[in-house]
Amino acid sequence: MLKDWKLKEVVLMSLFGVVFGIVYLIFIHIGNIWAGLIGPIAYEWMFGIWFIVSIISMYIIRKPGAALLPETLAALIEVLLGNAVGPRLILSGIVQGLGAEAAFAVTRYRHFNLAVLMLAGAGSAVFSFIYGYFISGYAALDPALVAWMFTLRVLSGMIIAGIGGKYIADGLLATGSLRGYAISHSRKGDASA
């Protein structure tokens, strides 16, 4: 899988991991405080933030693995920062990345329009929810509440990660700093897709 990745793409993923690792950490702290007040549902509406790096990276690089790798790296960087949730994050990073990756794989890495990006956001949400169901023991909660949490998380994944991610990547594309990456070459092809 890594064979046809250029080194500069891997490093780019890692630096995105750093930037978003910091962003994530900030939100974990906000989330923890909210969680104390209104319980685990506090995280749900902003869960999409944690999926955003997968979507931005895949939208830019467009190669198999471009959703899984940066999410994992962001988690690894968060751990390296010595802060917060530690090694467990790497696992949840992988799971979230896989969710987004699955959505792109289903569309065969051909289309990267808004609908697919939102689907990927939803994919991350579903995967991470299943994972959370076991690890955090949602099984013990009232099914109605669990259903609510699930809906909120999927919506958040679609809106914050899907739409927000595209908005940020498009802003970055306009700066011209992304020439030399797939997003710049396939601009026209994508518009028709």
Binding site: L12, S14, I33, I38, L76, V85, G86
Partner: protein, 252 residues
Amino acid sequence: MNLLLHNMNPSIKFVIVTVSMIVMAFFFNPITPLLFCCGIILFQLLFSRINWKLWTFSMLPFLIAAFGYLWTTLIFAKSSTGNIIWTPFFLEITDQQLDLALSLTFRVLAFSMLSLLFAFTTDPVKFVMSLMQQLKLTPKIAYSVLVGYHFLPFIKDEFLQIKQVHKMRTHNQPTSKWHRSKAAYRMLIPTLAGAVRKAERAAFAMEARGFTGEARQSFFHPIIIKQSDILLSMLFSILLIGSCTIGVTLSR
């Protein structure tokens, strides 16, 4: 002796911590995670030299989160059988519910403690190096992560500068919530553009140093597996198995 945890092979530590977390996820009694927490604190007291003040401070947000878990699981738990032990307002709380709520809460605490144990006793660079040497992470990823980690202070610095220059330019602009999020977006774009530029230059620099991404034959500072690593892993396993069995027997 009191540096054992710090000197432990990072990959082994990582595997143990992760395995412990996964195993604990299958136990729904309050005693297992509680015992495990005590064990971790004991380990840290014996085998590490950590800053307990900082440790307490870092645990604080997790305590708050754990408290959130406690009362939401109490209120929103699946209606279950058991003896009613407390009826505040019109809610009924059974002993089973309490057990479950406590077990989830202690689990959050145990996970946090494990994570902090790892974070407080592991040198990030050694961790990545060891991932590459013991767990066969490809050098391409390993060194890219190190570069990212190494650029962290630069990126932070740059972000602060952008923030301040923007503040100077927009000092007479309105500051509603909408404007604030717009300002955050405006700051994120140059930061990311800077990251893209840095990534490209760093990748060029690495390749110019003859980096091909192939697995390496020799390391300047090899990271090895020592006897003490095996000893510590055994201690951890005993703690894990012990707290699981005791927890299950006691809660019968």
